[in-house]
Amino acid sequence: MLSELINPYYLQVATFILLNIILGVSIYITLGTGQLSLGHAGFMSIGAYTSAILTLNYNVPLVIGIIIAAVFTGFIGVLIGFPALRLQGVYLAIATLGFGEVIRVLFINWEGLTNGAIGIRGIPHLGREILSFSESLGFSPGMIGLKNNQFVSLAVFLVLLIISIGVIWFFIRQSNSRIGRAFASIKMDEEASEAMGINITYYKILAFGQGALLAGFAGALYAHLTAYISPSDFGYHRAVEILIFAIFGGSEVIWGPIFGAIFLSTMPEFLRVISEYRFMIYGALLVLMMAFRPQGLIDTNVVNWIKRPRLKKKEGKHGTGNKKDK
């Protein structure tokens, strides 16, 4: 019964959608302080390679590998965050895109460690680790009427689901707090928030580091989901893909990039054509969104509308007269 409902292919698709949600949130966090970073493919690759190398070459347990990879990437993010403070808007975007490319080229050329352009194979697979762990506890998928590959896909999906919910929960909580208010005010007016007593250096670096940590975390998960990584997985098309989650879905509220990630990763599954012309469509989307809805599809108004369909809006009267006498 259960075994007929579980299609490993769909579960895998759903798992990668969850991974994309985490990536979407990672760029949203950094954007939350007004910093547009296109380095998230680079951060993702740092996480992926760190965990792959640790687990493969040093026999570090998978969970520990992922955690170390995420923290290490966050640390790199903080280091990059300092020079990033000096750059604004499109200059920051270009510099971080360059950072991602530098990392990619570094991974291609550091053959001793990364196996160069060929990439790393045989990375411990999250699903199989879960399977062998449960078998060591005396459990076998057959006991609940599942084939091994069904169980593996289901377990991986559930793990990713719990992680994604945890990540979303974490950042919703953070945004409804003193930290979130500081982020929001910096995004709206950096100088004014500084004058109101907010340490903008700290918060901008915090946001940059958190975004990097999350991207590194997603990268490490990616390595253990695919068991194979190469530098070409983290090229600039990936950076654009992550960006488009936030641009298309929206970057005002966390639901924006989540919606963007779900929608844009699901569509190609339904329409093969989209898959072929994916990056052309992304490009067109970027242009269209910038022209017609720069805040993305899901903004505060949409969220309010969903939450309170009949909210009464209080409009203030606008002041009259401009006086400047002496």
Partner: protein, 257 residues
């Protein structure tokens, strides 16, 4: 003495915005800072709040030098300002704007915020209460949930003051708070400044509305072309020849330029 400005000069790549300006502010007073357009008044605020470093000179606050501090550190020390060209967080609600102003008096960090410790909850309750109290003072209680940009001009000016008050300053810097206000709003502003003074907060006021300045300030400092040209009581300033000339001379200067 709350604030002591010692020979502050500021040069913006050739433009001498301030030249050796010195004055001081006594505890509890409302000191007016006036002068024609471009006299350097806002620049003086930017020096006090460390938005820019002075080219030379020093500023002392409650007996300690402010040199080398960052703007947010100045705010924490107890000086907060409003902006001449309103700079609210326009997409946040009125109440959230005030809560941001309270930021430097709070201590919860990321983990406490996410895991909602008892201390964090208590602190958030206090922030809400403080903000509502301050909105009450400035008369914006009923607009707490309004998005800041939807307020009228005069209300936005008062929200700027509320946001600054939330940082619990000892010295409040107001940059043309009456600009764009009608007569009734200006009268309300007068009452508000009196109320703030009664809270034992010292005020430095930049304002072009002379009747308001004369009515509310205990002393006035006059700047012209970045130099202090007079200092004294409202009546002595009103009768000061150099001050009158500075104000009348503006048109002449404009023609020359």
């Amino acid at each position: 003495m709350v604030l002591e400005i010692k020979k502050i000069s500021k040069n913006f790549g050739g433009i001498q915005a301030l030249t050796d300006v010195s004055f001081s502010i006594e505890q509890g007073e409302v000191l007016g800072l006036i002068g024609p357009n471009g006299a350097g008044k806002t620049t003086m605020f930017n020096m006090i709040t460390a938005m820019f470093p002075p080219s030379s000179g020093e500023i002392g606050f409650l007996g300690q030098s402010l040199s080398g501090l960052k703007p947010h550190e100045i705010t924490k020390r107890g000086i907060c300002r409003t902006f001449q060209n309103i700079r609210l967080f326009s997409e946040l609600t009125v109440r959230e704007n005030v809560m941001v102003g309270n930021h430097c008096r709070l201590t919860t960090g990321v983990l406490q915020s996410v895991f909602r410790t008892k201390y964090q909850k208590q602190e958030e309750e206090n922030v809400l209460r403080n903000s509502d109290e301050i909105l009450e003072i400035v008369g914006l209680s009923e607009f707490g949930q309004t998005i800041a940009k939807n307020l009228s001009y005069g209300q936005q000016r008062r929200l700027e003051i509320a946001r600054a008050l939330a940082s619990r300053p000892q010295l409040l810097l107001l940059d043309e708070p009456a600009a764009g206000m009608n007569e009734k709003e200006t009268n309300d502003l007068f009452d508000l400044i009196k109320k703030i003074q009664a809270l034992n907060i010292t005020i430095l006021l930049i304002e072009h509305d002379m009747p308001l300045v004369m009515r509310i300030c205990s002393r006035i400092v006059v700047l012209n072309f970045g130099k202090k040209i007079a200092e004294g009581t409202p009546s002595s300033i009103q009768n000061n020849k150099e001050v009158i000339e500075a104000y009348l001379g503006v048109e002449e200067e404009d023609e020359l330029a």
